[in-house]
């Protein structure tokens, strides 16, 4: 019922986009689309009893539990804000000729489609169905990356598609394993997560380990885990910033979500220690590679993309610990990371409009006089950067602290390595921001581009997100905590 | 603070002030004798000071209030330090007077003001003097503190008064450790009072001078105060050395006759020490400035030796 409504809304939106002529109209439609989704999700959440015993809707293919609703809520909110942001951004892309006039309908259509697919993916109970939707998100988002006329974008999109899809095929092999496992254990095969979770303890450990490892490959690629992360910095840096925000804040969650669901199954079998080791290994390597790559980084959006990779690694490590508290804070971190990262990409987008080099997307941004030209964006990056590092008044502070605390209860060595790596990452981010943002024009410097007049539509989301981040960092209402605990319980931790 | 202590303060301060110039002249006299000259009268320094007090004061146009107040403060600090070292009569200490560290830091206070005076006029000599004074003070400080720590260790007290009482009470105070300490104290005396081989108190207008460089721009009563302060400092440090190593005659109970006798005895002991200093000075050449730290290392060696003997033997 709900899904039907969501689908119809999307169809209507796509239809309206097809009918509308100007950017403003299309943008309004996509904002409305995001808003409607947000409202529906909020309604679902409001209708859910906390705590609920079972799942709200359930059939063979789809279901809604707290985790799914939570992820969908994040996605809808980010999409709404990104749509607001995209209005001005697309306008500016059009006027500078980076986006062809003909592509803008495609852009908005894909946008709406992507939202629908992501929502469907989160609501999918059947893991194969989930896999297919996840694949579709790759396709839709890759097209959004490639939509700019530049060849570099196509290049980045192709990398994204190839790496993500080839890895995802291996995930599918993993799901086949899972299906076979359930079939041999239960007599009749099933890929429904709810069924699997109920019977997980009956599954043999070797098979679960194998299926987890293979599933992990694909979704690690989706969420940018080392060594499958290679597509991520390029795609995020090349995509239009509204898309980058969505990629980073929503799409990466899909991967982590899948891994989390798998871990919830494996957790109930004897395969957990091996899986934990594997996750810690990958997580630490991911953080390490991201941190080290951030140090010499000259390109702001790439830097932010690497920071996403780093955060994914941290979540992975948190999942590896797999205590209820750790999962609780991993989920919190998912939320914190999404909002912070979106604000960073929005701000970076404004700066990119101001400073982007006309010669190459890889070239360092020539950021100068940033506080006088783009004060809001500068503060956005500054506060967002401090927030993502995990300074107080940012929700990341708590999630990072508690994830690390949980790691510390397991192994001090790993904790120390993680702390050092996180320090390197913070140092890299800080170094970039300090050196880039303190640069002011000297008399001999070449004149800057025209000051970019940031439209209000691009400012509002940044402001909203910054306020939201700080609010989340200060207030941890009881309801929120109960909600998160509920998710942890439902995952069976 | 009782009447007895006040009396002690007054008498000790006046006695120090009275005796100090005498020793200065005595050293000069001894040095002159060893060089085959007749030398000035033993009371020459008194005459010099009296003359300086009567003369007009000349200030540099660059100088600030520092030059005007520093000489008085310097002398005052040294005089307060003098209260810490009883010459002849040791009363019960009051309010921490006699604390050996405070004693040391009162000298530092005097030195601080003296060095600022050196800088105040903007004269290159003054600056050089201050710079060297402060550098030397810094380098000698570890030695001093180790010696004092050794003293505190040997006498099991932080208070000079207590040390004197213990030292006076023992029949044969001279022990090997004390001899070693005495050598260190002697070096400290030489350094702190700017004598050869550290500094040549006789040479004005030479690039080797330290103490004289600092007070080069002073004149009249300001100069007199500084000179007097230097003399008092010498007497106080001598008294410390004498009363620790050769305390006989030191009285711990008050009686006019006893105190007078002790004072007289101290005068003689002090004169002998001045003579030794004079002979020591004439047998030495002024050392190059940057060779000085090695001299201090020697003092450091002696004091460390003391400690090792005391601690491990």
């Amino acid at each position: 019922m709900i899904l039907l409504a969501l689908g119809l809304v999307t169809l209507a939106c796509i239809g309206l986009i097809a009918l509308s002529k100007t950017n403003r109209q299309m943008n309004a439609v996509s904002i409305a689309h995001g808003l409607i989704f947000t409202i529906i999700t909020a309604a679902i959440l409001a209708a859910m009893d906390i705590p609920v015993g079972t799942f709200l809707v359930g059939n063979q293919y789809f279901f809604i539990d707290h985790l799914a609703a939570f992820e969908v809520l994040i996605a809808s909110v980010i999409f709404t804000l990104a749509a607001v942001y995209a209005g001005g951004y697309v306008e500016s892309l059009l006027s500078s000729g980076e986006l062809e006039k003909g592509s803008q309908k495609l852009f908005y259509t894909l946008w709406s489609l992507l939202l629908l697919i992501i929502v469907l993916a989160f609501f999918a109970d059947n893991l194969a169905l989930f896999w297919i939707f996840a694949e579709m998100t790759t396709i839709a988002s890759a097209m959004l990356v490639a939509i700019l006329a530049a060849r570099e974008n196509i290049d980045a999109a192709l990398k994204y598609i190839f790496i993500a899809s080839t890895s995802m095929l291996l995930s599918f092999v993993g799901y086949i394993f899972l299906f076979e496992t359930s079939r041999s254990a239960l007599g009749e095969g099933s890929l429904n997560w709810t069924v699997l979770l109920a019977h997980a303890p009956e599954f043999p450990a070797e098979m679960m380990l194998a299926s987890f490892a293979l599933v992990f490959i694909g979704f690690a690629a989706k969420s940018g885990i080392f060594p499958f992360h290679t597509w991520l910095p390029e795609a995020h840096a090349k995509a239009p910033s509204a898309v980058s925000a969505v990629l980073s804040a929503v799409l990466l969650n899909v991967g982590i979500y899948a891994i989390l669901r798998m871990v919830a199954l494996v957790h109930r079998t004897n395969a957990m220690p091996a899986v934990s080791t594997m996750l810690v290994l990958f997580g630490a390597l991911t953080i390490g590679i991201a941190a080290v790559s951030m140090l010499p980084q000259k390109n702001l959006k790439k830097l932010i993309a690497f920071s996403s990779i780093e955060n994914m690694g941290l979540m992975l490590v948190g999942i590896a610990v797999a205590t209820p508290v750790a999962i609780f804070w991993v989920l919190f971190h998912v939320m914190a990371h999404s909002f912070t990262k979106a604000s960073l990409f929005f701000s970076a987008g404004i700066l990119h409009r101001q400073y982007h080099s006309r010669f190459s997307g890889d070239a360092p941004d020539e950021i100068r006089d940033v506080f006088s030209l783009q004060p809001l964006a500068a503060w956005g990056i500054l506060i967002g950067g401090l927030a993502i590092i995990g300074l107080p008044f940012s929700p990341v502070f708590f999630s990072k602290l508690f994830i690390l605390l949980q790691v510390g209860t397991v192994s001090m060595e790993v904790l120390f390595i993680l702390l050092v790596l996180l320090f390197v990452a913070a140092a890299g981010l800080g170094y970039f921001v300090i050196t880039a943002f303190t640069r002011v024009s000297q008399p001999g410097d070449s004149p800057l581009n025209e000051p970019y007049r940031t439209p209000g539509g691009m400012k509002i989301p940044v402001v909203i997100l910054l306020v939201l981040i700080i609010a989340m960092g200060i207030f941890l209402p009881g309801g929120e905590i109960v909600f998160f605990s509920q998710m942890v319980t439902e995952l069976g931790f | 603070m009782n009447g007895e202590f006040v009396a002690y303060c007054v008498i000790n301060a006046l006695a120090v002030l009275a005796i100090a110039p005498l020793y200065m002249s005595l050293i000069k006299k001894v040095k002159a004798w060893t060089q085959g000259r007749q030398g000035p009268s033993p009371f020459q320094t008194y005459a010099n000071l009296a003359k300086l007090f009567r003369k007009e004061v000349i200030y540099s146009p660059n100088s600030s209030r520092v030059t005007r107040v520093a000489p008085s403060i310097t002398l005052a600090a040294i005089l307060v330090a003098a209260l810490f070292v009883p010459l002849a009569y040791v009363p019960a200490p009051v309010g921490g007077i006699g604390n050996i560290i405070l004693f040391l830091y009162l000298f530092a206070l005097a030195r601080f003001f003296m060095a600022l005076t050196g800088l105040d006029a903007g004269s290159p000599f003054g600056g050089m003097g201050s710079s060297r004074e402060m550098s030397l003070a810094a380098v000698i400080e570890p030695v001093t503190i180790i010696v004092f720590a050794a003293l505190a260790f040997v006498f099991a007290s932080l208070n000079i008064f207590d040390m004197f009482v213990i030292s006076a009470a023992s029949a044969f105070p001279v022990t090997p450790t004390l001899i070693l300490l005495a050598i260190s104290l002697f070096i400290i005396l030489i350094v702190e009072t700017a004598r050869i081989p550290i500094d040549n108190p006789e040479t004005h207008l030479e690039l080797t001078m330290i103490h004289e460089g600092m007070i080069l721009e002073l004149s009249g009563k300001n100069l007199a105060l500084m000179e007097l302060a230097a003399a008092v400092k010498f007497t106080v440090l001598s008294a410390l050395l004498i009363n620790l190593v050769l305390p006989f005659g030191l009285v711990t109970t008050f009686s006019v006759a006893g105190v007078l006798a002790a004072l007289l005895l101290f005068l003689i002991k002090g004169a002998v020490l001045s003579g030794i200093v004079g002979i020591f000075e004439s047998s030495m050449a002024k050392m190059r400035f940057f060779r000085l730290p090695s001299l201090f290392v020697m003092a450091f060696f002696f004091s460390t030796l003391t400690i090792i003997i005391e601690v491990f033997a």
Partner: protein, 230 residues
């Protein structure tokens, strides 16, 4: 019902066919034949599915055969062939990291590795008739061989074919390991088609204009200056 033993031996022959086609895809320099070989491979898969149907009798297998035939033997090869016409690339000469001989050796080694790994992971599958176990091994090997194509060949079109080979491997693996619901198979095929179309469009898009991007493109090895734009 045919004789099971005969069918099994037919399936074995078809396995050999699959491996050979894969080996050809890995090692050939001729782009035009590549598509046909891929179609042949898919057709082999259809054959395998049909043979398997005769043994197991699951209707799903028929469906799979049908869908595979429609999509992978007809639509996708046709589409790729059209694209190749458009961008006029006939050969993919350069190899990255692996040359044909190495990759053939490597794929044999991989088959061994997979055999050993699978036999320790799935004791109950290896307990089934060896045919099924062997099918799983071949499927997974095909996946990895396809993957080798994706990174050892420089042209995007070839990479797409590598990806398609991987997908065939997954299909094979799925057929022999377990019985997936048909709807899933169907959706995967749709997904595959969209993906191929998208990649193709992107490849064509990158092919379309402007001399000045040649240098940059060079890095991506979509084509070289020698085989010029129309």
């Amino acid at each position: 019902m045919m004789d099971a033993a005969l069918v099994e031996s037919i399936i074995r022959i078809l396995f050999a066919g699959v491996i050979i086609t894969a080996a050809y895809i890995i090692s050939t320099r001729n782009l035009l034949s590549l598509v046909s070989v891929y179609a042949l491979q898919s057709a082999t898969l259809v054959g395998i599915a049909l043979c398997l149907y005769t043994i197991e009798g699951a209707v799903v297998l028929l469906g799979i055969a049908l869908v595979t035939f429609a999509s992978k033997v007809l639509i996708i090869p046709y589409f790729i062939a059209t694209i190749q016409e458009r961008i006029r690339i006939k050969r993919d000469i350069e190899f990255h990291y692996l040359n044909p001989t190495t990759s053939l050796f490597l794929s044999m080694a991989l088959m061994l590795v997979i055999y050993m790994a699978l036999s320790s992971i799935m004791p109950n599958v290896s307990g089934k008739p060896t045919l099924f176990f062997f099918g799983a091994v071949v499927g997974l090997s095909l996946v990895l061989m396809g993957m080798m194509v994706t990174f050892s060949r420089k042209r995007a079109i070839t990479k797409v074919l590598g990806y398609l080979t991987m997908e065939n491997g997954v299909l094979l693996f799925g057929m022999f390991v377990t019985e997936l619901p048909f709807i899933i198979e169907f959706l995967i095929v749709i997904d595959l088609i969209i993906l191929v179309i998208l990649t193709a469009i992107l490849t064509v898009g990158i092919d379309s204009t402007l001399e000045e991007y040649h240098n940059r493109l060079h890095r991506f090895y979509l084509w070289e200056g020698t085989e010029d734009v129309p």
